[in-house]
């Protein structure tokens, strides 16, 4: 019998942490944090995603190649969203119409 990669204990702790973070998201959402509410929600979501990737998906225990692949996915998504938003956010910065 091969040694399992992750123990039941680790899975259980991860599961409980995820539920706690989900609850936190909802409770924090009840507060009016103005422009930060979306940002904080995304931050907590990212923490949850990181837990799922690291423990449920064995991301912490996989080879360097797999971790580079994961990083590439995140980075390329960030390239797409930042350059696109970069256009919209910088519109109207110059005093010419339509620029």
């Amino acid at each position: 019998m091969k040694e399992p990669v992750v123990s039941i204990r680790t899975y259980t702790l991860t599961w409980l942490a995820l539920l706690a973070l989900a609850l936190a998201t909802t409770l924090i959402g009840l507060l009016d944090l103005g422009p930060f509410s979306m940002g904080i929600a995304i931050l907590i979501a990212t923490a949850k995603a990181a837990l799922v990737v690291a423990f449920f998906m064995h991301g912490r225990y996989e080879s360097k190649l797999v971790r580079v692949i994961i990083a590439a996915g995140v980075i390329w998504f960030l390239i797409m969203i930042s350059n696109t938003l970069g256009d919209y956010i910088t519109r109207g910065w110059l005093p010419f119409p339509g620029k």
Partner: protein, 546 residues
């Protein structure tokens, strides 16, 4: 060690390992799948070319004479869609890449052979849906599907065409996954990354783009379809939507897509030039990382297709700056190819003629890209024939020539036969002359102000248009000739032997055609450098002439 004597062709090859139509349609052999793809993309090349022929005939006269303006819109749209997605993108990776890459890494097959076969079926399904759209009446949005015309106004088969391309995209993704996994995990013992031929590095870079860019196109076309079917306004200004957002998402894929089209072509040229110069590739590591650099930087420049669309000036400047940067890896490659030829024992076989043609024409195309990267100049020539000439110099003068060069180069390996050299050289020359006559006038036309996608134009442009059409007919002949003599040579050509070009690649160290599992025994790489022409000098039978 080469097992068979040079004059005797091998008896058991991948071609006769199993017989019957099902052994081809259900094959998992990457070489057979490469041939299946070759048949498909050749068909699409001529179909797309047919639409181009109709366009060029129409453009002989300044007024609409052959087709109506609406039909002309459909012609250039279908020409673009077929050529981009059903010819250029799969052309080299799925034909030559499929055939050569596993052998180049010393493997028996790709990492996921069944996925490879599935990718061909998915490709054909996407093709079927697109052909359906064409035969039901075509699509007139241009291959770029710009909103709101494609979502709100066009009455043609936009959804069907978009879905055909959507399906085709999965074929690209499957290929990309397969190639990346293969290069990482299926290399023969001793074959470290810095001993891999550039063919492999460039296809790896291409695969990076396959997997990172294609999903964005898929979901963007899906949104176009959703908007058309459900009449909801994702890109509709009335609903607070932004048509320019479509362009951002579309070009996020479509700019890297052009590197999907050119990286494999560079891959082919990077193999041909060292072989026919009898020298290792100059600046090997620079070329390796230039391939990766091209794939990466290519993702940062997409806004240069949108300078006049209404984006912010700061954003435009950023995209313009990166568009200049992205020229650098291409330039590195061009300099390294020419440096490889310098003081080499150059022979002018047909593949080398195509490769040199590529280097010259790609350079011209690439340099005109720099004109377009300058915002001020772009405002003048965008959406004119200047842009059309620019990308055809790269895609046709570049990729198609490299594809033909690669087909000729690996033909002996694929078929076991040699093609007729004199006819092949004549054909290459015809292509080169026909190409330049077709597309050089278009630079001038664009600079003078002739817009693209117009069937009618001012009288003063007629002469240059006639030159262009004349060139197109010559170019067509140049493309038909190889189809004829290559097929002829399959049956009647001379036997090639395992390594007619005396190349150092691993694929040349097995018989022509190869056995089903590529190598009699898994090769163990003991050479210390890529392109080991010095170390393998005696084995290859190369005579020192200088």
């Amino acid at each position: 060690m080469i097992e068979e004597a040079v004059d005797r062709p091998p008896t058991k090859t991948y071609l006769n390992a199993e017989v019957g139509i099902w052994s081809w349609l259900l094959t998992t052999d990457h070489k057979r799948i490469g041939i299946l793809y070759t048949i498909s993309i050749t068909f699409f090349f001529f179909l797309g070319g047919f639409f181009a022929l109709l366009m060029r005939l129409e453009l002989v006269q300044p007024r609409n004479w052959l087709v109506s303006a609406e039909t002309y819109n459909k012609l250039f749209s279908m020409h673009g869609i077929i050529m981009v997605w059903f010819f250029l993108i799969p052309s080299i990776p799925n034909t030559l890449g499929n055939f050569v890459l596993p052998m180049a890494v010393g493997a028996k097959d790709l990492a996921f052979p069944k996925l490879n076969l599935a990718s061909w079926y998915v490709f054909m399904l996407g093709a079927a849906v697109t052909i359906y759209a064409i035969f039901r009446g075509g699509v007139d949005t241009g291959w770029t599907f710009y909103t709101p015309f494609s979502t709100a106004s066009s009455t043609t088969y936009v959804t069907a065409a978009a879905m055909g391309i959507f399906i085709n995209g999965f074929s690209s993704i499957m290929t990309g996954i397969n190639f990346i996994a293969t290069v990482h995990r299926m290399r023969a013992p001793g074959l470290t990354w810095y001993k891999l031929p550039i063919f492999v590095w460039s296809h790896y870079a291409t695969s990076m783009i396959f997997v990172l860019a294609t999903p964005v196109l898929a979901v963007t076309l899906l949104m176009v379809a959703v908007e058309r079917i459900f009449k909801v306004g994702i890109f509709d200004p009335a609903l607070g939507g932004d048509p320019v957002l479509f362009q951002h998402l579309f070009w996020f894929y479509s700019h890297p897509a052009v590197y999907i089209m050119v990286l494999p072509a560079m891959a082919v040229v990077s193999e041909i030039v060292p072989t026919f110069s009898r020298k290792p590739l100059f600046g090997y590591k620079a070329v390796c990382w230039a391939s990766i650099g091209l794939a990466t930087l290519g993702f940062l420049v997409w806004g240069h297709h949108m300078f006049v669309a209404g984006m912010s000036v700061y954003s435009a400047m950023t995209f313009s700056l990166f568009s200049y940067f992205v020229a650098i890896p291409s330039a590195i490659k061009v300099f390294n190819w020419t440096a490889t030829m310098h003081r080499g024992a150059v022979s002018w076989d047909t593949p080398m003629l195509y490769a040199i043609g590529f280097i010259g024409l790609f350079t011209i195309g690439g340099m005109t890209g720099l004109f377009l990267a300058a915002i001020g100049l772009d405002v003048h020539v965008t959406d004119t024939y200047f842009v059309i000439a620019h990308f055809h110099y790269i895609m046709v003068g570049g990729t198609v020539m490299a594809f033909l060069g690669g087909v000729h180069y690996w033909w002996p390996k694929i078929s076991g036969k040699l093609y007729p050299e004199a006819l092949a050289k004549l054909s290459a020359l015809t292509v080169f002359l026909g190409f330049n006559l077709t597309f050089f006038p278009q630079f001038v036309l664009g600079y003078l102000g002739m817009p693209r996608r117009y069937a009618a134009y001012p009288e003063e442009f007629q002469f240059l248009n006639i030159l262009s059409t004349a060139g197109a007919s010559i170019l067509g002949v140049g493309y038909i000739l190889p189809l004829v003599y290559l097929l002829w040579s399959w049956k009647y050509g001379r036997d090639a032997g395992p390594n007619p070009w005396k190349s150092t690649g691993l694929e040349w160290q097995t018989s022509s055609p190869p056995p089903k599992h590529n190598f009699e025994k898994t090769p163990v790489v003991t050479t210390t450098v890529p392109y080991p022409y010095e170390e393998m000098k005696e084995e290859l039978g190369l005579v020192q002439t200088r």
